[in-house]
Amino acid sequence: MTKKGKVISKHKYTFWEKIYYPEIMKGVGVSLKHFFGNIRKRKYIPTLQYPEEKQEYPEIFRGRHRLMEREDGSLRCVACMMCATACPAECIYIESEETDDKNIEKKAKVFVIDELRCVFCGLCVEACPTDAIRMDTKEHVPPEYSREAFVYDMEMLLNKAGKSIAIQGGDPNYILNPKK
């Protein structure tokens, strides 16, 4: 009859392992290494103390939206509806109006994003031909008490606004060297 199954050899304890104390001292050595390493410099502790220490989000993080302005402070949005069309969650609502500016056809009168419906896919940012909408705030949408409060109007979207000097079609330097 052939033997079936694997024969597992038992660990033979040496004399020094049997009397236990040297092994305890080895373990205590490991404990002390971590204790003294952590008590002075937090050498091995990866924990971040959240409200005081925050982790830097990566550059490509898609946070809450913001609208951008031109050099003269006017809204960059030309109400072309590209973002609202691209949006898979259908959370963007835009109403347009006439503008005096001869270079553009129209501008946005109402620009509303429902942050609860938004899936933060970033398609609106990619669709925008004028770099009017961005998701680079690195911010989460803060908690609110009502659903209505999550519907951000133009004022909310503009309070983080920055002047965009974007080149139409994106900055090739940024794409080639994302770290910069």
């Binding site: 104390y21 305890i24 373990g27 205590v28 490991v30 404990s31 002390l32 971590h34 204790f35 952590n38 008590i39 937090r42 091995y44 502790i45 990866p46 924990t47 103390q49």
Partner: protein, 374 residues
């Protein structure tokens, strides 16, 4: 007369105050130290003054010490419940029974030398001090066994039984491991044991081992040190000997059915036991309150003498003792957070089959060596 009473009261305030404060601090030290060993941050967030209520900028957190106050407040204000079918009277008194015997042991522990006026830092200096300490250390298990019985819960009962059998098993090894010390110093009086560990010869020269080591139990009985440390750790019922609690097997062991400050008393009693253990260990093996080469009339360092007032020496010794106790308690916690828990049968096997014969052997060898030396 009035001086003696006042001095006695002062001594009680010093030693009980130190023990209580250290036991309270050990609760947070235990948690922070374990976190440091396990690469966590641990509890460090409870603020002393909430900036919203007190209108102070910044939060005073004192590396987490405020958690002691927060925990105590939480436990005091929790509902005080008792099990319906348990024995309510015994259920209520058993935390007190488990908690108080430890404090009685403080009466015989010498925690400082004698001042110039002849006042000693020991509450009662009486002959069988060690026996008194052991007797009251064992009494603590009554509270635990009764807590297990009166809770009317299988887990609690098992915890109580485990605590009892563990106490019986390790009490033997505990007593026998110290026999060598008693043989060497020829006394059971804790004060005399400490004085014997660092005494002056009749001609005023220091009585040293091999001419340079103080005669501490650490150097005279190195083998007994390990045996005593293991046996006394088992007596404190902390890991690796925490089978009476054994979270993974018995929920919380004997205090499963306890809540509020009653459970707090059990936990606090455990830390008091750690402090008492550290004090006994210091007294037996680390020369008690002695600083190396410092005697009651000053330093004697290989022929160089430095005269110091006896009262000042007593004060230095007081702080030396507290420092040693804190160190031993800290090291005890390191051991506690290094080793995993023994299985129940391993605990009993270790006590009866290894520590007990080893302690007997140590006693026999010490007796034979002493017979040939003297």
């Amino acid at each position: 007369m009035i001086t003696i009473i006042l001095w006695a009261l002062l001594k009680i305030v010093i030693i009980v105050g130190f023990t209580m404060a250290m036991a309270a601090l050990l609760t947070i030290t235990d948690r922070r130290e374990s976190s440091m060993i396990q690469d966590r941050l641990g509890p460090n967030r409870a603020p002393l003054f909430s900036s919203e209520v007190w209108n102070v900028t910044g939060k005073i957190r004192l590396i987490g010490i405020v958690h002691v106050i927060a925990d105590a407040l939480k436990m005091i204000f929790k509902e005080d419940f008792a099990v319906k079918k348990g024995n309510k009277f015994i259920h209520t008194i058993s935390p007190i029974l488990a908690f108080s015997p430890g404090l009685v042991i403080l009466a015989v522990i010498p925690f400082g030398g004698t001042t110039a006026g002849g006042l000693s830092f020991q509450i009662t200096d009486f002959g069988p001090g060690v026996l008194f300490a052991f007797a009251f250390a064992s009494l603590g298990v009554y509270g635990i066994a009764l807590a297990g019985w009166s809770s009317n819960s299988k887990f609690s009962l098992l915890g109580g039984i485990r605590a009892t059998s563990q106490m019986i098993s390790y009490e033997v090894a505990l007593g026998l491991s110290l026999m060598g010390i008693f043989l060497i110093f020829g006394t059971l009086n804790l004060g005399e044991i400490v004085q014997g560990q660092q005494a002056l010869n009749a001609n005023g020269t220091p009585d040293l081992l091999f001419g340079f080591l103080p005669k501490w139990g650490l150097f005279l009985q190195p083998f007994a040190l390990f045996l005593y440390f293991a046996a006394a750790t088992a007596e404190t019922k902390r890991a690796p000997f925490d089978v009476p609690e054994a979270e993974s097997e018995l929920v919380a062991g004997f205090f499963t059915e306890y809540g509020s400050m009653k459970m707090g008393a059990f936990l606090f009693g455990e830390y008091i036991e750690v402090i008492i253990f550290s004090m006994m260990f210091t007294t037996m093996f680390l020369g008690g309150y002695h600083l190396p080469y410092l005697y009651s009339d000053g330093f004697h360092f290989f022929g160089h003498n430095l005269e110091i007032n006896a009262t000042l020496v007593a004060m230095i010794q007081l702080f030396t003792f507290f420092g040693k106790v804190i160190f031993v308690a800290w090291f005890h916690l390191v051991i506690r957070w290094t080793l995993p828990r023994f299985r129940y049968d391993q605990v009993i096997n270790l006590g009866w089959k290894m520590l007990f014969p080893a302690a007997l052997l140590n006693m026999a060898i010490t007796a034979i060596v002493l017979t040939f030396i003297k």
